[in-house]
Symmetry: C2
Subunit: 287 residues, 2 copies
């Protein structure tokens, strides 16, 4: 049996009791480690599980999935995924391959940022589609997120923005010299995301994510160091220190709000006067 | 400390290792038991935890929350919530009360139907706002869901529909006789939901949820008995037996689809010829 097991969001103890039982008895244990990361190292998982964990990078999952699935018709193979196995990144391709090979499979769900963002106090019913934000470079500044964001904004819905992470990215400079060297991991911050949003708004000018819009910066959701910071995008552009270490996500607020959401968020406002003023002007009573 | 702990979706082993450690050491353990249920009885939780669990019904949470919070500044109180503590039903009001009393609080996330529905193979990025469907009665047929559904449909987004459950509902007939008797629990089925959707479409006629629309029926998501059934709403209206026991949810498909979604869903089609025909006509290449 192939088991896709969600690990939750923070550390080795966020696995479910059911998931842990499978990890302990499986023949092989893989960890998908290129689309999301836990806040702890692989070694901490291994010592908690009492066994070896094989890192499955993008290349292995995309090109060598049959190695992962080898003998899974006769023995148990665990494929660990940070968050939920079908959360922000789905592993439907691996399951389709298992189906084609007649390998039985099942999944053990866990917390995903898509639902755990509810800890911000924002009601999940009021969220529209989720979008992701990639790191802009000098030559690549994809603004396709803007159209989807605009759809949510026009309906007054909140938008969860998932921020880019770069792990095991080959250095282009080293490649030019014929070598494969990996760049150190990079995690987009709320401030970087806010700056990219404001920048694209300045080009497009449709009033979607200008600097006076309210947003929630979320850091280390699901961990004991979870933190929410609330402000205008302009304020969040500067909030490097307030947010602390990765991982970060951002929610752009829609105007279809509830008073309970305001009461919940206000506690975390970078500046309560600014929050009150902007809320009253642009959000209150609009739902 | 007040701990809001997600229990996940199916049984006693879906709690996280971290959550279980807190349950074992807390002074008191409450189970919120009116907005969602596990697929197992309270006694099974109690025997797994090795301790008593206090049922917190709506009345207790809404009117006697200070009893739940008593002494939580000095000792640990666990408040268990099926799914994620801030999932489909949020408990922000309990947290706001804790804040007002200066009681420290934290939450332990877990799987919510809002993310676990990804096991259907539908990409969570392609979902719009979540809606809920209540049981219609002869005199109360709220169709406000239709406007929100229409918003998602116009954007081509999938819609997760959460289905009504009725637990501990007083019998109106008995109340008329001056007695309080509770009705047996009721759980809306996919077929009932599909019938209500088609019925409202017949009134409103905006092409939002007519009987030729494709939808996914989901049963017992997150459990070993998880099942997905795919068909038109017309087909799902009749799919009582195929779905099996509760809990059910439904996803109305949007046209913004991916070929991988089709490949994944087709396996579960009630009739693959009908699925292929409707997909080709109304969904394929529309994204």
């Amino acid at each position: 049996m192939l088991y896709l097991i969600g690990l939750g969001l923070a550390d080795e103890k966020d696995i479910t009791v059911k998931g842990l039982e499978i990890v302990k008895r499986a023949s092989r244990v893989y960890l998908e480690a290129y689309t999301a990361i836990l806040l702890v190292e692989k070694s901490q998982l291994e010592s908690f599980y009492g066994r070896e964990v094989i890192i499955a990078d993008r290349e292995m999952v995309e090109s060598a999935s049959d190695d992962i699935l080898a003998n899974a018709d006769k023995e148990d193979v665990a494929f660990l995924v940070v968050g939920d196995p079908f959360g922000a990144t789905t592993h439907t391709d691996l399951v389709l391959r298992a189906r084609a090979l007649s390998i039985p499979h099942t999944s053990i769900p866990n917390a995903s940022i898509i639902s755990a963002i509810g800890a911000s106090g924002l009601q999940l019913y009021n969220f529209g589609q989720t979008i992701s934000m990639v790191f802009f470079t000098d030559s690549w500044r994809p603004s396709s997120f803007y159209a989807r964001l605009a759809e949510n904004v026009s309906l007054g819905l909140h938008t969860l923005v998932l921020l880019d992470i770069k792990v095991k990215e080959p250095s282009l400079e080293a490649m030019a010299r014929g070598k494969i060297v990996y760049e150190p991991p990079r995690f987009m911050t709320v401030a970087e995301c806010a700056r990219q949003m404001v920048e694209v708004e300045e080009e497009k000018k449709e009033g979607v994510c200008g600097e006076k819009k309210l947003a929630v910066g979320a850091a280390r959701v699901g961990s004991a160091e979870q933190k929410f910071v609330v402000g205008t995008l302009e304020q969040l552009c500067e909030a490097e220190e307030e947010m602390g270490p990765p991982l970060h996500s951002l929610v752009l607020l829609g105007w279809r709000t509830h008073d309970l959401e305001r009461d919940y968020l206000r506690e975390w406002a970078l500046d309560k006067d600014v929050f009150d003023e902007v809320w009253k002007r642009d959000y209150e009573g609009k739902g």
